[in-house]
Symmetry: none
Amino acid sequence: MNQPVEARGNSRQKIVDTALKLFSQQGFEKTSVREITKAAGISLGLMYNYFDSKEALLKAIFQESIQNIQDSFAIEPNDTGRLALLLRRYFDAIEKRQDHWRLLHGIRMQQHLSQLLAQETETLSNYIIGELSLILKNLRYERPLHEAVLLFATIDGITNHYLTNSRYPLDKITHLLISKYI
Amino acid sequence: MNQPVEARGNSRQKIVDTALKLFSQQGFEKTSVREITKAAGISLGLMYNYFDSKEALLKAIFQESIQNIQDSFAIEPNDTGRLALLLRRYFDAIEKRQDHWRLLHGIRMQQHLSQLLAQETETLSNYIIGELSLILKNLRYERPLHEAVLLFATIDGITNHYLTNSRYPLDKITHLLISKYI
Amino acid sequence: MNQPVEARGNSRQKIVDTALKLFSQQGFEKTSVREITKAAGISLGLMYNYFDSKEALLKAIFQESIQNIQDSFAIEPNDTGRLALLLRRYFDAIEKRQDHWRLLHGIRMQQHLSQLLAQETETLSNYIIGELSLILKNLRYERPLHEAVLLFATIDGITNHYLTNSRYPLDKITHLLISKYI
Amino acid sequence: MNQPVEARGNSRQKIVDTALKLFSQQGFEKTSVREITKAAGISLGLMYNYFDSKEALLKAIFQESIQNIQDSFAIEPNDTGRLALLLRRYFDAIEKRQDHWRLLHGIRMQQHLSQLLAQETETLSNYIIGELSLILKNLRYERPLHEAVLLFATIDGITNHYLTNSRYPLDKITHLLISKYI
DNA sequence: AATGAATGAGACTTCATTCAT
DNA sequence: TATGAATGAAGTCTCATTCAT
C-alpha cells in the first residue's frame, strides 16, 4: 500500500511544477486549486497536505523562481566583458525559463501578492542592483549605484516587453544595450 | 429612495472615477463591483445601466488612461532638447496620475485582461516608439527604431520600479537617463 | 407638447403588440420589460402608466388571444359539414396567428402563470368543448360530451405538435381528422 | 460540518429526485438552485460538484424522464389488442409518474429549453410514432404513418389536458379512445 | 500518503418596479 | 402622456478549504 520509494515526494514536485506553469500562463487569481490538482493528476486534499494554502504554494514556487533568476546572475567575478556576459546569460535565461519571469512580473503589480512576497522580491532586487553596481564601478562609472538602478530598470523593461510581445527583437535590443556599456 | 436631485447624472463619472482608483490600488480581480458601487455611493444595479459588465467598465476606464498617458507624450515638434522635455513631462505625469499608470502596468501581465485591451495597448506602444524614434533620428542616432525600443523599455522599467517602490529616486534616475541622451 | 390626436393610445397598442410577439417567441419569463419597451420604442416608465405590472400586461394580452382563438370557433350554426368547416377554420387560424396560440400553449404548463389566467382559460375550454359537444350531438354521437373532450384533446395535441415542429404536416392531419367525423 | 456518514454518496440522486419534483411542480425557471439544494438537504456548492450548471442538471433529469416515458411504450409485439394494452399502460404510467410528464410538457413550449433537449425529444417522438405506426399497420389502417401522427397528437393532447385539469376524466376518455381503434 | 465529497461565503449579473421631472 | 436614472433583492455559479475515510 505504500508508494514505491522512488515515487515518494513526486507528488509535491508535480504540484509545484504544474502550479508554476499554470500561474505563469493564466495568473494566480485565474488558476484554481482544483485546476492545479487535476492537471497534476493528484487529489484536491493531497495538495493541502503539502501546502497550507494556495498562497503558501505560491510562496514555495516563488522561492524556486527567485533562485532561478538569481542563478542567471551568478558570474565568476573576472574583469572585463563581465557585464556583456552577464546580460547575455540573463536574457538567455529569460528565453529558456519564461515561466519564472512571467510569474515574477505577473505578481509584481498586484499589491496583495507582492506584499506577500515583499521580502524575497526586495532581496532579489538588492542583489541584482548590487552586482550591477559592482561591475559598473569596475567600469569606472561615476555613480555606479544610480547607474545600476537605471540599468536594472532597462533590463527589467526589456524583460517585460519581451514577455508581453511575442515578436520582440530581444537579440537586437540586447546587442544594442551591451554596446552602450563597453 | 432615489439619489438627491443634485447628484443625478453624475453617477457615470462617479463610477469611472471610483473604479479607476480601486482598480489601480487593489487590482481588477480584487475589486468587486459591489465595492465600487458602495464607494461611489450608488446602487449595485445602476452600474449595469451604464456598463454592460465589469470588463466593459475596465475598458471604458482604460480608454481614459490611454488618453492620459498619450497626452504626456504630446510635445510640439521643436528641435533640440525635445527628448529631455518629453522625458521630464512623462515622469512628471506618472507622479501626478499614478493611478492611470498603475492600472496599465497592473493589467499588462494578466493575459486575459491584456487580450481584452490588446488593441489599445498596441496602439499606445507603437505611438510611443514612433515618437521616440522620430526624436532619436533627429538626434542622429544610427538605428533610431531600435534605440527607441530600448529607450521605451528603459522608461517603462523606471515607471514600473517607481510604481512598485515608494522610495524610488525617480528624479535622480530621470536626470541620469536624460544625461545619456544629451 | 401634447401628442397629436391620432397618436393617442398608440403607445398602449404598441406595447401590447410587441409584448405578444416577444412573449410568444421567447416566453414570458425570458422576456424582460425593458426589452419590450425598447422594441416598442417607448420608455420604461410609460409601460407602467398603462399596466400595473408585467403580469397585468400578460393578462391584457391574454384577453386578446383568447378572443382571437374564440373567434376561430364562431361558426353560424348551420347543419351538416359544420364540424369540417370549424376544424378547417380553426387550423387556418393557427397558421395565421401562431403567436396567440404559442402564448396560450406556452403558458398552460407553467402553474404560476396558468393560475393567474385560470378563469379565462377555463372559460375558453368550456366554450370549445360546449361548441364541439353541440355539433357532435347533432351528428348523433352517443356521448357527445366525452366525444367533445376527446376531440378537443386531439385538436389541441395537433396544435401543440404543429407549433413545436416546423415540418408538421398540418394539412394532411387535418384532412385525416375530418375524414373520421364525416 | 459535513453530512453524516450514512448520507454520503446519495447526494447526486437526492439532487436529481428533488429537482425533478420541483421542476415539474414549479417549472424550471421558477425553481432556483438554492431551493433545490435546500430541499435536498445539501449545500449549494455540492450541486455544482455533480452538475456543471442548472441546465446540465435539467438535461440529466430529462434523460431519466425520457427513459421512463419510453418504457411505458415497451410492449411485447403480440397481435390483437396490442394497441389497447399500450394505451392503457401509457395512461397508467402518466397517472403514476405525473412528474416526468409534467416536466416534458412544461419544457416543450419553452424554446430555449426545448432547443437544449431537442435531440432527445425528437428521438422520443419518432420512437412513439414508429411504434404506433407499426401497430396501426397491423390493424390494416390505410395510411399508418399519418394515423400514427394523429393518434400521437390525441394521446398527447389527453395527457396535456389531464396534467392541466385535476378533474379530467382520464379513464372515460381512454376508454372512448380505445373503442375507436378496435 | 492520499482521496474527493461537502461546505458556504461571495462573485457577477438581471430584472421588475418606482419616482422625480 | 412620457422619460429613464435609480434601486436592491434574487439568481447562477466559483472557489479555497476541511475532514472523514
